[in-house]
């Protein structure tokens, strides 16, 4: 097994060298742009996210009128933890860990020994530190700079992928970033390790149709991939075991957030001002239309590390 991973490293060398030019360059969302969106105030997000502060599409139980946002978020976290085969694992990585709901769930419900989280948001890192989870370790660090001391048993990443590139990148640059991301995950995972990924993508739309409002005012320096780009980015690095589109679940999640934000509008204005509140209301409304119409999709991928990647290609 170990011999295998040494061999893989050498087969990755070519790609690594090619990637060196990209190494120090951040082609995704800058720390400044992350701050603009995620650091508007933890108390503001608490007004409209669920009690676990999960900030990604939830998985709803169809035909269950009693389903709640909290339950749907926990169902989603459990789904990814199962897909990544993380239950009872020693070391699990969450790339783009938000306010730590996955880390907490891994430790408290799924008996994971150590859960590691990466985020670029200082407010999120501080929040997780205050959760009093001795088995969780959070770093204010980009995946690009991450270098674990030991490999992980499983990796989860929920809606962070959208921050890895931005609108103005060429196709080639974008695919290079995605391949670099999957190559890193490959290196960090133990042989036959699993990864569960959730990503919003373009659906029945093109990049040139994308909203200026969303990608400049709300989430600057961010961009969705297409399904094809994720596949191209992961080919011969990870095997795609399952893909499912949960766009309707995202529509329900966005509407639940919007409804909570509207119900707490006055408190929101008090905390962050009128302009920020109406920006978020507009963003949640626009996004719910996009997922309703299939302009955007929400994909969950179950991925298994390919232990013997084809040699003459980029690993």
């Amino acid at each position: 097994m170990y011999r295998c991973s040494i061999l893989e490293e050498s087969s990755c060398q070519k790609e690594e060298i090619a990637m060196n030019t990209l190494k120090t360059q951040n082609l995704g969302t800058s720390a400044e742009a992350i701050k603009h969106h995620y650091d508007v105030g933890n108390d503001f997000y608490q007004l409209w996210l669920d009690s676990t502060n999960t900030y990604s599409g939830a998985l709803w139980e169809e035909n269950d009128a009693n389903d709640t946002l909290e339950l749907a978020q926990l169902r989603k976290l459990d789904f990814h933890i199962n897909q990544a085969r993380a239950k009872g694992a020693k070391r699990v990585l969450d790339i783009g860990c938000g306010w730590g709901s996955t880390l907490k769930r891994l430790i408290e419900v799924h008996d994971v020994e150590q859960a590691f989280g990466l985020t670029l948001s200082k407010a999120q890192a501080e929040w997780i530190a205050s959760l009093n989870l001795p088995q969780a370790e959070v770093k204010l660090e980009s995946w690009q700079d991450h270098s674990p001391v030991e490999p992980y048993d499983a990796i989860i990443s929920l809606e962070a992928f959208e921050h890895f590139t931005k609108l103005e990148l060429s196709h080639k640059e974008r695919i290079a970033v995605y391949r670099k991301f999957f190559s890193h995950c490959h290196q960090w995972l133990k042989p036959s390790g699993w990864m569960s990924l959730q990503v919003s993508t373009y659906g029945n739309s093109r990049r040139e149709d994308s909203s200026q409002f969303v990608f400049t005012e709300v989430l600057p320096e961010t961009d969705f991939p297409t399904l094809a780009e994720i596949i191209e980015g992961s080919e011969r690095i990870f095997e795609i075991v399952a893909i499912r589109n949960y766009r309707q679940d995202y529509e329900y999640t966005l509407k639940a957030w919007l409804s909570r934000l509207k119900a707490n509008r006055a408190a929101g204005i008090e905390l962050v001002g009128k302009e920020v509140v109406s920006r978020f209301e507009k963003y949640l409304s626009l996004s719910s239309i996009c997922f309703h119409q299939g302009i955007s999709n929400l994909f969950c991928f179950t991925l298994r590390r390919i232990d013997n990647p084809r040699k003459d290609s980029s690993c």
């Binding site: 739309s205 149709d209 994308s210 909203s211 200026q212 409002f213 969303v214 005012e217 529509e251 509407k255 919007l258 409804s259 509207k262 209301e281 507009k282 409304s285 626009l286 719910s288 239309i289 996009c290 309703h292 119409q293 302009i295």
Partner: protein, 110 residues
Amino acid sequence: MEIQSSQIEQISTVSQSSNSQENISKKTATAAEIQDWLVCYLAELMENKPDEIDVTIPFDRYGLDSSAAIGMIGDLESWIGIELDPTLPYDYPSIETLARHLAEESKVNV
């Protein structure tokens, strides 16, 4: 309907002027009242006369993009006094169908 934000500014101006005349909560608005509101709203937005607005024509034929649709639903929400989904104009894509649906809804919600 394209995803654009260009009309957001415009919408808030429209909302101020069209709603200032009537700012009462219409919890039991009838289909006819809602239809009149929508006709006036679109007429003002499109700089048309109300009698030039056809209630059976889909919203996007009036050039209503998603941002404008959000503005319209937001203003309608304040007027009608019940929470409305931003996707309503997509499920009920003309003035007539939207008004009829909302009249039913507001009855249920009273």
